[in-house]
């Protein structure tokens, strides 16, 4: 008697939990907005200097976006949402890194040209 009750309890709890989690999933619905936002962010990043200066981050974002879309098709909506959200920040990071690298290169170029100019000015003023 004891044995039977115990067993039924052990079986019942996971079942209830599973039902709960399934209903929880189904109530969330497809994260269309998140995927759309990620898609836009990846496209923006592709238009920026990211392909040149931060290709790895951009690739990660693209892969996650693709996987999010596949998860959508499989109706794995929680996974799809998380992947889409991560793809978005990855794409934005790729863009930010590229812009930052670009700005540093510009600064370096200007610094170099300034130094060249200074040397020339010094030479011409010192030489005469």
């Amino acid at each position: 008697m004891y044995q039977k009750q115990f067993l039924s309890f052990r079986v019942a709890v996971p079942i209830v939990l599973t039902i709960l989690s399934i209903t929880g999933c189904s109530t969330i619905g497809p994260p269309k907005d998140s995927v759309a936002a990620a898609d836009l962010a990846v496209r923006e990043a592709n238009k920026s200097k990211a392909p040149q200066y931060s290709p790895l981050e951009l690739r990660r974002a693209t892969d996650k976006l693709d996987e999010a879309k596949r998860a959508m098709d499989k109706e794995e909506y929680i996974r799809a949402r998380r992947l889409a959200e991560e793809a978005l920040v990855d794409a934005q990071l790729a863009e930010a890194k590229a812009a930052s690298e670009d700005a540093r290169r510009t600064a370096s170029d200007v610094r170099q040209s300034l130094e060249t100019l200074r040397r020339e000015a010094q030479r011409s003023s010192g030489g005469d």
């Binding site: 004891y2 998380r82 959200e85 991560e86 920040v89 990855d90 934005q92 990071l93 930010a96 890194k97 812009a99 930052s100 670009d102 700005a103 540093r104 510009t106 600064a107 200007v110 610094r111 040209s113 300034l114 100019l117 200074r118 020339e120 000015a121 011409s124 003023s125 005469d128």
Partner: protein, 307 residues
């Protein structure tokens, strides 16, 4: 039931302890991902450059961390917390990169301004140098022009002087032609013959004065000229007497010229007697030609007299 539990506990004490511990810790300790996100966020907050240069991205990172903390507080869903912690980490990285971008842009801006300044300075210096060069060239050109003008004036002056000299020379020749003077290697020679003097006298006849006035006029106009007056006689009479007479006649001519205002320094008067006859003394006509006074207007560079 108690017996079974006791036996299970006795058989597997460590296993049970670990299971209990994991249950307790699962409830109370935060997931590793959240812990790391908090640390990353604290590190970001300690960097004043990030909040200064990337305020929006910093705010988004703080919001991401707050959502992660709330998820942990409310639902304790570790998968979702890990996911949110990942988003937080990326937001922090974005803030850091945005700040670095801003710093680099600010630096580039300053460097560009500096470059503009240096460019402007060097251009100003070049312009100054060009201006100085142009000015010195203008000065040189002006100087050259002045020199050229001076040379032109000198040339003109020289031409004028040459012309004047030519004019004077022509004048001279004309004047002497009037005086019936003739050009010899000693200079212009003008011969006054004895008709200008009384016989055996040294006084000038009035007719002589016209010719001598012309000579005086010429000497006044040409103050650099010297003259030599040489008196001659024929061979009648003693040699000494003739020499003395010829000297007196030469002196008469000199005196006339001195009275006319010509300095005696410029005049040499000599009596040479019957020497250097210009014609034969055997005839009346020849003797008349030999009685004469010659006025020689000495060439500028010529010897002034017969020695």
């Amino acid at each position: 039931m108690n017996r079974i539990i006791n036996q299970w506990l006795n058989d597997r004490p460590l296993y049970t302890m670990a299971a209990l511990m994991s249950l307790i810790m699962g409830c109370s300790t935060t997931p590793l991902a959240l812990e790391q996100a908090r640390q990353n966020y604290q590190r970001m907050e300690r960097d004043p450059q990030i909040s200064q240069n990337a305020p929006v991205a910093s705010y988004e990172a703080s919001q991401a961390l707050r959502r992660t903390e709330e998820e942990w507080e409310k639902n304790r869903n570790e998968d979702e917390v890990s996911h949110l912690a990942y988003l937080t980490d990326k937001r922090i990285e974005i803030a850091r990169e945005t700040a670095r971008q801003k710093v680099a842009e600010t630096e580039a801006q300053q460097l560009k301004q500096e470059r503009e300044k240096v460019l402007l300075e060097s251009r100003t210096r070049e312009a100054d140098r060009a201006k100085q060069l142009a000015e010195s060239r203008a000065r040189e050109a002006q100087q050259a022009q002045q020199e050229a003008e001076a040379r032109a004036r000198e040339t003109q002056e020289a031409q004028r002087r040459a012309q004047a000299a030519t004019n004077r020379a022509e004048d001279l020749e004309k004047r002497f032609a009037e005086l019936q003077a003739k050009q010899t290697k000693r200079g212009f020679e003008l011969t006054l013959n004895d008709v200008l003097f009384e016989f055996d006298k040294a006084n000038l006849k009035p007719g002589a004065t016209r010719s001598l006035t012309n000579v005086a006029q010429f000497l006044r106009e040409n103050p650099e000229r010297q003259i030599t007056i040489e008196g001659y006689t024929d061979n009648v009479g003693s040699d000494a007497y003739n020499r003395e007479l010829s000297q007196r006649r030469a002196d008469s001519v000199r005196d006339f010229l001195v009275q006319s205002g010509i300095s005696a320094d410029r005049i040499t008067a000599r009596g040479l007697g019957e020497e250097y006859p210009v014609a034969s003394n055997d005839t009346q006509a020849g003797r008349q030609q030999n009685r004469r006074v010659q006025i020689i207007i000495v060439n500028d560079n010529g010897r002034n007299a017969r020695q």
